[in-house]
Amino acid sequence: MMDEEPERAKRWEGGYERTWEVLKEDESGSLKATVEEILFQSKRKRVIENYGKVRLGMMRHLYVVVDCSRSMDDHDLKPNRLTSTLKLMEAFVEEYFDQNPISQLGIITTKNKRAEKLTDLAGNPKKHTAALKKAVDTVCVGEPSLYNSLNLSIQTLKHMPGHTSREILIILSSLTTCDPANICELIKTLKSLKVRVSVIGLSAEVRVCTVLTRETGGSYHVILDESHFKELLMLHVRPPPVSSSSECSLIRMGFPQHIIASLTDQDAKPSFSMSQLDSNSSEAALTLGGYFCPQCHTKYTELPVECKVCGLTLVSAPHLARSFHHLFPLQAFTESPTEELQEDRFCQACQGELKDKSIFSCPSCGSAFCVECDFFIHDSLHCCPGCIHSQTAP
């Protein structure tokens, strides 16, 4: 019974840890199956309803607020909620900068009725990952404060230009919040500043979060378990569609060429990269090649980066092109019952036997895929394997 449901098959390890859930299925099996069915349907809906050809907010300024209150010490996520959250956050940071190269991220923690910035808004994933690794040792104490953390984020976000998207993602595990003033006023302020707040709850639905996310246009979800938590986090990697009232403007960017030089060149000039010098580490090394800023000729070893000397955003063309699949998403595949398939029941992508009750076929090339491959193609690949192969054939 466990193999048929696709979600369960992924979590065979979970099955060993939480053996009491197996017992639950026998007694009231329908309950578990219903929940899984709901999750599956919502995943499907997301694929179908993806926003094609709408304006997206690609330059994002996102603040992630992590709750470090007493309730994060709970052991329902292994080893405790805080460690699990921080680990997932590291993966989120990597994915976020992968999909949104010209965006920035900042992290705030809240505990003991106060909020504190862990890292400032920055475009470099290494800083954030280092800070997250260190934060595993924080003591979880006190109550979180929604008001103070939102206030702290607003102080920086309100200075961001109008054409960028301002977002806050709150990971809240406590059921209470201790605020110094009326949070309804703050919600009004957030709306006027066009900040979008989304919440991921770890315990249960809390009314103030529902109102907060509804008024600001964000989303609110409560996790079921660790893999669901990961899915919900990764939902926020995608750039959100803009509301009608944001401005648009031209953005100045530099596209430096990668220069490779060798010692035998006539004018070999070894140089330091400015970003390495600032970080006070011993990794600053003389190198010959690199990216030179077109405006001030400062050298950098990595892109994308904001030039420390002249303030120009330096990117390479593939960084911008990476976000095209958000603008031109892959069409949703048509669902049909498996029995209708005349030929051999093999998934075109993974070559596995088609055992689910429905298959998905690409509208242009007609190849059939199983459920898992359908999700994978739409979430990660962004192109149909059948269509690609059919193009190169003579």
């Binding site: 003033a181 009326n182 060798s262 000039k269 330091f272």
Partner: protein
């Protein structure tokens, strides 16, 4: 200097300093010490100069007080009066504690902040040495940008000044621990004390009245926890307790709250009763429902009263902090927990509340937020980039078909002729270029540079880079030049850059030339400076042209 025209606040005799007996004087603006028998002060410090004071721990034989100045030096006073040394020292300490904060000048704080930043960040310190000490730029310019960072970092420092709400459970969180011998230990943090003061202003008043004149802090809190005021069973045991007044005030407050009643008809429990048509189909006289209000004085009602009172006080304290909420729909907007005066439920508010109570948004269809459509011309250009226009060789479509079939034919009949592909000399030179060590395979040997240049030279070069980067940052931040202030700044920065090149870069270049290092280490820096100069020239010429 013994002119006692200043107001003397405290005189302590038998205070030794540097093994000399003397007297300590605390005045309005300074603290001074003079040796025994002499008329003048040998040690005198303004309160503004004192950074902090330290006292020797309680168990030690020598009772001392140390003053640490901003400059780092310290002065120690030893209280040697056999009978009253401890009292003297404590009196001096208390007075200092009250006086020192008044004199903390803001300017010192900034200086401290600057010092701290220089000490914490060696790169910054080096930059400071390179640029300011050698007169390349002035100290003001150096700190202009940094202090801007401080002031915004101040808001991070004002973490401590963040307004904090009051947790409803703060009293319960105190969690006394038994300390083994029939006693209880209460851990009080600053947070809890602040919460108590904000929620119960009466207690705050008592504190300011009694501490430090009658009781010490420790005694005050011990009495607080011992008093029945704190515990559940509030039996007022006469007037010995300083908190009995607070209890009486609370009682009064509770009574007034109850008298006011509840204005919101949706939660007013007292007015909810069954409205039935009695016998007689409503014609008969309806007896007013008399609710028996015999309040049983059981301990339960005392607890319930205390809980209600506590919650009301916490809510009131929260709203007391901010401005009076303009929201009409709020139910407990009052400045004092003991009275609720602002609930007026006009019909429109009531209607909204009723509407909320009968509808569930969750069950309604979710409204997708409106999205803005993308307006792209020629969107397939995104798939493969712009294609340059080429001149057409073919004039008719028949030409194209012919050429396609010709190419297909050629490709089908292709026979390789490997001996005619490349001449042998060309082939061997290509192979040598692609073998390790050849011309095109230099990427692997990049690491060698680090070994070729000695580390101290590298270190100096790093400092030069950081300094140049800082100067260039100031320079580039002036563009676009649209105010006269920026114009002046850009001209000044250019001269700074030239000065930097003269004073720092040239000597370094000469030094490495003397060491016979063949690699051009400063070439990149010169390029960066040259780019800045050319930008400046372009701007200058444009300005000239605009003026003429």
């Amino acid at each position: 200097m013994a002119s006692l025209s200043e107001e003397v606040l405290l005189v302590v005799k038998k205070v030794r300093q540097r093994k000399q007996d003397g007297t300590l004087y605390l005045m309005a603006e300074r603290i001074a010490w003079g040796p025994e028998g002499k008329d003048r002060f040998s040690v005198s410090h303004l309160y503004a100069d004192i950074r902090c004071q330290k006292i020797s721990p309680d168990g030690k034989a020598k009772i001392q007080l140390q003053l640490v100045l901003h400059t780092g030096e310290s002065t120690t006073f030893h209280f040697s009066n056999e009978s009253s040394a401890l009292k003297d020292r404590d009196a001096a300490k208390e007075l200092l504690q009250q006086l020192l904060p008044k004199f903390k000048k803001k300017a010192n704080k900034e200086l401290e902040e600057k010092n701290r930043m220089l000490q914490e960040d060696p790169v910054l310190f080096q930059l400071y040495k390179d640029l300011v000490v050698s007169q390349v730029i002035s100290a003001d310019e150096f700190w202009a940008n940094r202090l801007g960072d401080i002031n915004s970092a101040d808001s991070a420092v004002s973490n401590n000044k963040q307004e904090v709400g009051i947790s409803g459970a703060f009293l319960a969180d105190i969690r006394p621990q038994t300390d083994g011998c029939n006693g209880l230990r209460y851990n009080l943090t600053a947070d809890i004390i602040e919460s108590i003061f904000r929620t119960y202003p009466a207690v705050k008043q008592k504190y300011s009245e009694n501490v430090p004149h009658n009781l010490t802090e420790k005694e005050f809190w011990t009495r607080f926890f011992q008093s029945h005021y704190f515990h559940r069973d509030r039996i007022n045991t006469g007037t010995q307790d300083i908190f009995s007044e607070c209890a009486k005030q609370d009682e009064k407050g509770l009574k007034s709250m109850v008298v006011q009643g509840v204005k919101n008809p949706l939660v007013d429990l007292l007015s909810l009763e069954d409205k039935t048509l009695d016998e007689g189909y409503g014609v008969g006289t309806t007896l007013p429902s008399t609710s028996n209000r015999t309040v049983k004085d059981s301990s339960n009602s005392a607890i319930i009263k205390r809980f209600n009172h506590h919650s009301a006080m916490v809510l009131a304290a929260g709203s007391r902090k901010g401005e009076a909420p303009a929201d009409q729909a709020s139910e407990t907007s009052s400045t004092d927990g003991n009275s609720r005066d602002s609930d007026f439920f006009q019909p429109p508010v009531k209607k909204v509340k009723l509407q909320e109570a009968i509808e569930y948004e969750d069950l309604q269809r979710e409204n997708r937020p409106k999205t803005v459509a993308l307006n792209l011309k020629k969107s397939d250009r995104y798939a493969h980039g712009p294609v340059p226009l080429q001149s057409q060789h073919y004039s008719t479509s028949q030409d194209i078909i012919n050429s396609v079939s010709y190419i297909q034919h050629e490709m089908a009949n292709y026979k390789p002729n490997l001996t005619q592909v490349l001449s042998s000399t060309a082939a061997s030179s290509a192979i040598s270029a692609l073998s390790p060590g050849g011309v095109l395979m230099q990427a692997a040997t990049q690491q060698a540079i680090n070994q070729m240049v000695p580390t101290d030279i590298q270190g100096e070069l790093k400092h030069l880079y950081v300094a140049a980067g800082e100067l260039l940052r100031h320079f580039w931040s002036c563009f676009p030049v649209n105010t006269p202030f920026l114009e002046e700044k850009v001209i000044k920065m250019k001269s700074n850059l030239e000065r930097f090149q003269m004073t720092k870069l040239r000597p370094f270049q000469e030094k490495i030339q003397r060491q016979y290092l063949s690699t051009n280490l400063t070439g990149h820096l010169e390029e960066m400076l040259q780019t800045a100069y050319s930008k400046f020239h372009v701007w200058q010429t444009r300005r000239m042209m605009r003026k003429t």
